[in-house]
Amino acid sequence: MDQDTKKQSKTKSNPFRLGLLLVSLLLCVAVCSLMLGRLRIHPLDVVKILASGLFPIEHSWPPTLESVLFDVRLPRLFAGLLVGSGLSVSGAAFQGLFRNPLVSPHILGVSAGAGLGAALAILFFGNIYMVQVFSFIFGLLAVFMTYTLSRVYRSTPILMLVLSGIIVGALFAATTSLLKYIADPVNQMPSIVFWMLGSLNNSSNRDMAIVGPIMMMGIAILLLIRWRINLLAMGEEDARALGVNTTQIRAIIIICATVISACSVSIAGIIGWIGLVIPHIGRLLVGPDNKLLLPVVTLIGASYLVAVDTIARSAMESEIPIGILTAMVGAPIFAYLLRKNRSEW
């Protein structure tokens, strides 16, 4: 027991060193993701081209490199950073809120809703802009329905939220299946399927200018209230006895996590497993205290998704949908963590 405690406090010591390590890891991953791809850019060129945006540097590189970097890779990097950190932070916050380490940000039906929105837009409009708008709106709609349904019953709010999420999720998923069934099997159905597999391929500077600030705000709010999530994790009644307005803080967490997830789904499709796996890796590193956990999870989530996306677009001739990779990488990691962390989360 004493040895255990010592071992734990040793690995959990020095959050500053860990923070520094994670930030450096993130920078490395980011530079790699800018370098790699069909067109390889030398890391020195990456730095020079980036710097040329701010400082007057002589352009010693072909203009294609610049446009690849600024118009394709940079927005995609930002999308990866925000989607990765956003989904991870939402997952960690939801796990605290639901007092259950097996919860992911999709539990309230946001991805089921977004899926239906995307399918509808593909069927009726067929352009990517409408797909993004519809998936965002339907993602929010699904969670709103879940929340409203859970308020109808006057019993344990957390349990009702989970059950309502299952109900609403099933309804939306079934409707999506119906749309797939009636969709044109040559063009529309494959686009629906591909969209559901997730990809950062469509992220553009314009998207990031709209969605970026919203996601950053959601992440910032969750980070600001992170210590309060500890209180919720002790249970509804304990939190109330400690003077916490549980209804209010629950609503704030749900709104932030939902907006973040809906934004990520709208720009990148459905990317699973991140919100589940990354918080577990975080807990292994710093323990369950959300005061440390949430910032750590933000950094790891960002690195993880950018790394996986870089693999997705450079490992094979054609791009592998990222939702497939996050699950294929995430599931074994999760299995390993369960084994390593058997007795506790």
Binding site: T5, G96, W227, L231, A233, M234, L242, D289
Partner: protein, 267 residues
């Protein structure tokens, strides 16, 4: 201003209908440094009553004054600075360290966006010292024994800096050694001037600690007074439906009443 807790004619119903009230017209008062023991059969609403006093639940009628302040007019965090609530044991899902749990008691003193400062950590440290769990402060709460967990929750309630402490069956599921350790801590807290309201299933605990006993049954407080008056053969039989003999033990340094339930042989 009156020091202590005063409850007047409180009525509580989970569905809001007064006809389905868990209890009605409950009144009592407990002064500074006093201990009120709440007895009563399972399911009579002892926990519900304690939650009303700690503002986890809001009674439909009546009023509760904490040191002269009406709970109905206090904000949630203001109430939490007046009264600390120690719930019935419910282990945490996440392996928070004991010190992290105790510092959560500072929540009513902190704003929405802040997390505990060095001062808060010091206060939590003193709370752990007061109940004697400094030695386990670095341990994950999932590895605690029942007694240690209960002491952790008491320390968390103390970190709130309250003048009233409400405990819901703090000795349930504990062996007699841990039971006495908890009762000693509770007694010490009363001596330091806290108002204590404690639910228990063991009448002997009332004889050991309480200045006042209330028995909640059939939705009302049926008996109320000093332990000697309230815990009698007749009242125990009426409350619990079994034969009970309350005897005085004066042997080998012991000098108090003891409650002996019988396995149906009666008198």
């Amino acid at each position: 201003m009156i020091a202590g807790v005063l409850a007047e004619n409180i009525v509580f119903s989970y569905n809001g209908r007064l006809g389905d009230a868990v209890f009605r017209d409950v009144s009592f008062s407990v002064g500074k440094g006093e201990i009120l023991c709440l007895l009563g059969p399972n399911g009579t609403g002892k926990s519900t009553l304690l939650k009303c006093i700690s503002s986890v639940l809001r009674p439909q009628k009546g009023r509760i004054l904490l040191n002269g302040k009406d709970v109905a007019h206090l904000k949630a965090n203001e109430t939490a600075r007046e009264v600390g609530y120690v719930p019935q044991s419910q282990m945490s899902t996440f392996p928070f360290l004991v010190k992290d749990i105790v510092v959560m008691g500072r929540a009513p003193h902190l704003g929405m966006l802040s997390s505990p400062s060095g001062d808060d950590v010091d206060i939590a440290h003193r709370a752990m010292e007061a109940v004697g769990i400094l030695g386990i402060s670095e341990r994950p709460c999932t590895q605690l024994s029942g007694g240690e967990w209960q002491l952790t929750l008491i320390a968390r309630a103390l970190a709130q800096g309250p003048r009233t402490l409400v405990l819901d069956e703090p000795t349930s599921h504990l062996d007699i050694g841990n039971q006495m350790r908890i009762l000693k801590v509770v007694k010490g807290l009363a001596e330091s001037g806290l108002v204590i309201i404690m639910a228990t299933h063991i009448p002997d605990h009332a004889f050991m600690l309480a200045n006042e006993v209330a028995i909640l049954n059939h939705g009302r407080i049926q008996y109320q007074g000093s332990p000697d008056e309230v815990i009698s053969d007749e009242n125990m039989r009426a409350t619990y439906g079994v034969e009970v003999r309350v005897v005085h033990v004066a042997d080998q340094g012991l000098d108090r009443k003891v409650c002996c339930p019988a396995l149906g042989e009666g008198r």
